[in-house]
């Protein structure tokens, strides 16, 4: 599932990941993301940190907290900023890791999946 408030980024990411063989769902806000996670049950969430309602760290915490309802998705945080712009927040979050938005590719995401399994 791709969580990003920027339509252009979302549709390009979708195109790229579908081409790489993923089945893709989308969400534009933190609230949509937590809601969709319950119904869609994604195996991997590509989660933008800068969201209009609450930030990606908060979404990651909520997804982790909802883990009792079923297997938790692998969460990969992403941003146009660099990881170090967020200090220790990324390491402290339950997310599996961080991927700069411009380095997004199917292969990069698969690496997170295989590393986590």
């Amino acid at each position: 599932m791709i969580v990003d408030d920027h339509d252009g980024v979302r549709s390009f990411a979708r195109g790229m990941l579908e081409a790489a063989g993923f089945t893709v769902a989308e969400a534009g806000t933190g609230a949509e993301a937590t809601e969709a996670a319950r119904t869609v049950r994604p195996g991997l969430v590509l989660l933008d940190i800068g969201l209009p309602d609450f930030d990606g760290f908060e979404v990651a915490r909520r997804l982790a907290a909802a883990a009792a309802e079923g297997p938790a998705p692998v969460v990969v945080l992403t941003s146009t900023r660099e990881a170090r712009d967020y200090g220790g927040q990324i390491a402290a979050s339950p997310a599996a890791g961080f991927l700069p938005k411009d380095q997004l590719s199917g292969a990069a995401l698969r690496a997170f999946l295989t590393r986590d399994r």
């Binding site: 920027h6 790229m16 800068g50 660099e82 712009d85 967020y86 200090g87 411009d102 997004l104």
Partner: protein, 574 residues
């Protein structure tokens, strides 16, 4: 006082005392003490006369003092001249100095009598004094004192004289004198009771004179009989207290002018008008002094305790002087002080300066506050603008570049294998897009560090340390959020300090410590480098000091050559 008048008064006093001593020479052992005492008292009034003339040229007090002094000595000189006419005149005028003293007392301190009634009392006293002495002289045969041929003749003597008539007349004179003295003392006490402030103080020497005269009248009025030593030596000396106290009070008034300066200098900066009034009242010796200000928007005046003061028609016995350099303030003081115009002028000038000083100080303080507030607002507005710019870059151009980069990635995948030339072209375009994105990120970070907004000082300082080419230890950074201006300032201090360490210090390592203290945030960056950094001049440290000052903080630089550099910013933080 006129130079010639003063010279004449001094010459007159010396002549009178000289004549007195010369005519009574050689001293009769029996009367030597009496004569010394008379000379001293007479001289003391003459000296007080000179002093009074000098101190209050507008008052006739100097003249009255001088007259009392002469009338005290001259009759005795005349008696001692051994001439019948002089002897007779001397006897007739023997007690007239007492009447002049009554005149002096009732006319204190302006030298002018206050009412017709008091004029009448003074005239009556002169008249009865001369009349009784004339009558008594008519009955006094010089032979009564045991000198026959050696004494000068009494030109007024009736027949052989009469000792009993002389005694009777003296007794009556004593009683009349007692009544007049009682009336005069009552009047003086009334003057004293109605006087306030400066005038009341100015009457203190007079009260002594009054008490001494009263005592003398009672004790020498032939009602009581004391030894000659008490009557003629000790009592006159009591009179000395009057002139002496007057001279002392004059010296004190002289120091009042100096006390004014001290009073103003001793006022602490920002002292209230009430404190200024107290200081002026003390220096001036007028407890009734009021410092009054025009009511804002109104026409009346209020004194420093908020009481209304009629500055146009002040109470009885009050006088008003406007304070130079101030449209609003006036001094209201005891009218007796009109005798001291110089002192009043000085007081008004001193008060004017003190008020002007206080006003300027308040004005400068207010302006300083305004400038401080506007500087803080300007810096905060700048910060907000930088935050907005960074966010705009992030939400706009950066997103588009990311999208572009992703699109190029997909295009390259599609072209892979089919068209190697196209694939190389797209790869190169993708590389350009990523580099543009990197440059834009650096630009945005320079405009405003997103990490500061996102994570506060903890993450932002960590990010700075990670980017620094020098090994930096973070000793402490509080894990809480502070007002944006404080966070931004603390961040710029650390950022600028670490940049300086990397550029100039030739340091092996640096240390960052941020401590929360009650009401303050203290940021400290130290290194073990070359030292010698200076906050003055056009260095980055100057700008940093300005930035720290914009939030009301202080930047301290301790950088001895060869001893490393220690930078400490002390920021106020609620």
């Amino acid at each position: 006082m006129n130079r010639w008048l003063r010279a004449a008064l001094i010459a007159g006093a010396i002549t009178a005392v000289g004549l007195f001593v010369w005519t009574s020479w050689p001293p009769n052992s029996q009367y030597a003490l009496v004569e010394i005492s008379f000379a001293i008292v007479g001289l003391s009034f003459m000296v007080a006369g000179i002093v009074a003339w000098q101190r209050w040229p507008a008052s006739r007090l100097g003249l009255l003092f001088t007259i009392v002094g002469y009338l005290y000595l001259v009759p005795y000189i005349l008696v001692n001249l051994a001439n019948p006419v002089a002897w007779t005149i001397g006897n007739v005028t023997e007690g007239v100095s007492g009447a002049a003293l009554v005149h002096l007392g009732l006319a204190w301190p302006t030298g002018r009598l206050r009412s017709r009634f008091e004029c009448g009392v003074v005239v009556a006293d002169y008249v009865q004094n001369i009349a009784f002495n004339t009558a008594a002289t008519m009955f006094w045969n010089p032979a009564f004192s045991g000198c026959n041929a050696s004494c000068p003749a009494n030109v007024l003597l009736i027949g052989d004289g009469s000792r009993s008539a002389w005694n009777t007349l003296n007794t009556i004179e004593g009683l009349v004198g007692l009544v007049i003295t009682g009336v005069v003392l009552t009047l003086i006490v009334r003057h004293w009771r109605s006087a306030r402030g400066w005038s009341r103080r100015a009457m203190i020497p007079l009260l002594w004179i009054g008490a001494a005269v009263g005592a003398e009248e009672i004790l020498t009025g032939n009602l009581f009989h004391f030894s000659a030593t008490v009557t003629y030596v000790l009592l006159p000396l009591v009179l000395l207290a009057g002139p002496a106290l007057f001279v002392i009070s004059t010296v004190q008034a002289r120091t009042a002018a100096g006390a004014l300066g001290t009073a103003i200098v001793d006022l602490e900066p920002g002292a209230s008008p009430g404190r200024l009034r107290d200081a002026l009242a003390r220096a001036l010796g007028d407890s009734t002094l009021q410092l009054a200000f025009r009511q804002p928007g109104g026409s009346g005046h209020l004194d420093t305790s908020g009481q209304a003061v009629d500055a146009d028609r002040p109470d009885n016995g009050r006088t008003v002087v406007p304070i130079a350099g101030s449209d609003e303030a006036v001094l209201v003081y005891d009218e007796g002080l009109e005798l001291e115009p110089q002192l009043i002028k000085l007081t008004a000038a001193a008060a004017g300066m003190a008020l002007e000083h206080a006003r300027l100080q308040a004005e400068v303080q207010a302006q300083l506050e305004q400038v401080r507030a506007s500087r803080a607002r300007i810096v905060e507005a700048g910060d907000a603008e930088r935050r907005r710019l960074e966010r705009d870059l992030h939400d706009g151009a950066q997103q588009r570049l990311v999208t572009l980069s992703l699109a190029l990635g997909m295009a390259r995948d599609r072209a892979a294998g089919a068209d190697p030339e196209l694939e190389a072209l797209i790869t190169s375009a993708g590389k350009e897009a990523r580099e543009a994105l990197t440059e834009l990120r650096e630009l945005a970070r320079g405009i405003h560090p997103a990490v500061l907004t996102e994570t506060g000082l903890t993450g932002a300082v960590q990010a700075l340390v990670e980017r620094s080419p020098v090994a930096v230890t973070i000793t402490a950074v509080p894990d809480e959020r502070f007002p944006a201006a404080v966070e931004a300032t603390a961040y710029f201090v650390v950022s600028e300090a670490l940049a300086n360490v990397a550029k100039h210090a030739m340091a092996g390592g640096a240390r960052v410590t941020i401590r929360r203290q009650p009401g303050r945030l203290v940021v400290e960056v130290s290194d073990d480098g070359a030292g010698g950094a200076r906050a003055e001049g056009g260095s980055g440290l100057r700008g940093l000091a300005d930035r720290v000052a914009s939030v009301g903080g202080v930047l301290r630089v301790d950088s001895p050559p060869g001893g490393g550099t220690r930078l400490e910013a002390d920021l106020p933080c609620p």
